[in-house]
């Protein structure tokens, strides 16, 4: 996406078209000639994986809608109809349901990769913030999609999550009634969630394009966290990144296929195969695995409004990470202290996920409070202080040098 190129296709018809709408040149400069740092590792393949998973979700979602009925009387039955009667309905629904989990798995890897290698630092702040917006849109989309089968978990997830807004002083109750379109979660709620669940993926797609655009303006970060200085530091997107991304995608889709074909309900809850009952809450309600850390934070705070603020705050704090991190060095590879705190943060987040699935009582609540406190401590105290305390290791003079240290000559011809 580097503006107008000078590319002229050899085919005469294409050349005629290119002069009127230079879309081929745009694609070529963005996805073929585009220079990528030569040291990118497999953690850099998750952006491409995420784009493909989004497309899988959109395609399977569009066809599921052809068989689904968004009414409180028929939604549950229509999902069973998809599973039992519609040709390949079981496959499409299992891909779509597990696709949500795979989407979050990939996005968490992608976010933690960004945190490890400092991909949010100058000049990539806007790129990072667009990423946080994408994450929020994903969460909203996944939540509303989970409501559509209208099982017990769907219904009570909708009730609990929309009730988060009732914590707001004064405007809370009117907002919740407005979100529901009634005095409880009911058919109007289902219908609007269905409408928005169809809309948001396309919004997501639009923001993904902005995210990629911003990426191509500032260039990719890389494991060394230093800027590209010459052609020797880069290789062309095609074939190098294309092949590497494709290979990672295949491995990722093997895991995806294993879930879909062997354990399609492993990540779900059996309660959601019971039709929604507004008069009875299931004994243990837990969100899907990808929301568990945030759920643990919500429950850790012994005040309703406080819990809601902490939960949203745990995501909002990510927006400010580019400025909270005061170190000039991007990659954790050259930050001996930050590297250790990074791994502690990862363990804390996984720990919060574990606690989110446990009942909110006794030792679990205490542990959740400690981990929640640490989560915020990491971003609000440790990250700003480390920049002053830490003595970074010496940076390599170039990406090429970081890759080729100890080798006599450059085995790879410089490209792009």
């Amino acid at each position: 996406m580097h503006g107008h190129g000078t590319y002229i296709p050899e085919n005469k018809a294409l050349a005629w078209f290119e002069r009127r709408l230079p879309v081929l040149g745009l694609l070529k400069s963005s996805f073929v000639d585009y220079p990528t740092p030569r040291n990118l590792n497999y953690w850099w393949t998750f952006g491409g994986i995420l784009t493909v998973v989004l497309m899988v979700q959109i395609v399977t979602g569009i066809v599921l809608v052809m068989h689904y009925t968004p009414t409180s009387a028929d939604a549950f039955d229509s999902v069973e109809h998809i599973m039992r009667n519609v040709n390949y309905g079981w496959l499409l629904r299992y891909i779509h349901a597990n696709g949500a989990s795979m989407f979050f798995l990939a996005v968490y890897v992608h976010i933690f990769r960004g945190l490890y290698y400092g991909s949010y630092k100058e000049p990539r702040e806007v790129l990072w913030i667009l990423g946080v917006i994408l994450f929020l849109l994903m969460m909203a989309t996944a939540f509303m999609g989970y409501v559509l089968p209208w099982g017990q978990m769907s219904f009570w997830a909708a009730t609990v999550i929309t009730n988060l807004f009732s914590a707001l002083p004064f405007v809370g109750e009117p907002i919740v009634t407005w979100l529901w379109g009634g005095y409880s979660v009911d058919e109007p709620t289902l219908k609007r969630f269905f409408s928005l669940h169809y809309l948001l993926p396309f919004v997501l797609f639009g923001v993904v394009l902005l995210h990629i655009w911003a990426l191509h303006v500032v260039g990719q970060n890389n494991p060394a966290g230093i800027d590209v200085k010459s052609n020797k530091d880069t290789v062309a997107f095609t074939p190098y990144a294309t092949i590497k991304d494709s290979f990672a995608m295949i491995v990722f889709f093997i895991l995806f296929a294993w879930l879909v074909f062997y354990v399609p309900n492993y990540l779900g809850h059996s309660d959601n195969y019971i039709p929604a009952n507004p008069l009875q809450t299931p004994p243990h309600i837990v969100p899907e695995w990808y929301f568990l850390p945030f759920y643990a934070i919500l429950r850790a705070i012994p005040s309703k409004l406080g819990g809601v603020i902490a939960m949203f705050g745990s995501i909002v704090v990510l927006v400010f990470v580019p400025w909270l991190d005061t170190s000039k060095v991007r990659s954790a590879r050259y930050r001996p202290l930050y590297k250790q705190f990074f791994w502690i943060l990862l363990v804390v987040c996984i720990g919060l996920g574990y606690l989110g699935a446990k009942p909110a009582e006794g030792i679990y609540v205490i542990a959740a409070r400690i981990l929640t406190a640490y989560y915020f401590l990491h971003f609000l105290v440790i990250l700003p202080l480390l920049g002053f305390i830490e003595k970074p290791k010496p940076l390599p003079s170039s990406i090429a040098e970081s890759v080729l240290k100890g080798k006599e000559s450059d085995p790879m011809p410089a490209k792009g």
Binding site: V160, W178, D186, P278, L279, I285, S303
Partner: protein, 172 residues
């Protein structure tokens, strides 16, 4: 129009146009927002009549009102006494039991069965205070439906209701 230096007829027109535009946009957006509020058919279902005769002492029944569960508890003498014995300063949301029932009908407790934390339905005759217990996040309510322990900030709501006869009520 005031003719101070720097303020022109054109400035006035800019501001007036902008203001009219803003009002127009707001007026156009309002129907798009308000359509999400409860519609006429939802509002029409606003009241429910309940016959109390089949409810035995010590029994709690659940009826549906505005899509929500409403608990009707036929309290025993012991439950009423328990609720009235608690000093108000021990309650997170202080309210005397007398204010939560109709005068002379102390045995009938009518509550919206929605936890004031995040909207789950609490379970009756459970929890540490013989009232209700919310399985979602562990809020305990007493025999007057008042919050005693846990994350819920408020007592279970008493819906607007009235006795239409000695043995039946109209909720809403």
């Amino acid at each position: 129009m005031a003719t101070t230096a720097g303020t022109t007829r054109r400035d006035f027109l800019y501001i007036a146009t902008g203001a009219a535009g803003a009002v127009g946009v707001a007026a156009a957006i309002w129907p798009l927002i308000h359509q999400m509020n409860p519609d006429a058919s939802v509002l029409a279902l606003a009241s429910t009549d309940v016959d109390l005769t089949p409810i035995a002492e010590g029994q709690i029944i659940t009826v549906k009102w505005r899509g929500k569960p409403v608990f009707i508890s036929h309290r025993s003498k012991k439950e009423i006494d328990e609720a009235r014995a608690v000093p108000l300063n021990q309650l997170p949301d202080p309210q005397p039991d007398q204010a939560r029932v109709k005068e002379g009908k102390d045995q009938w407790l009518v509550l919206v069965g929605v936890c004031t934390h995040l909207g789950c339905v609490p379970l009756g005759h459970q929890g540490d205070f013989d009232g209700w217990f919310c399985p979602c996040h562990g809020s305990h309510y007493d025999t007057s439906g008042r919050i005693r322990r846990g994350p819920a900030p408020l007592n279970l709501l008493v819906p607007p209701y009235e006795f239409v006869s000695d043995t039946s009520i109209r909720i809403g």
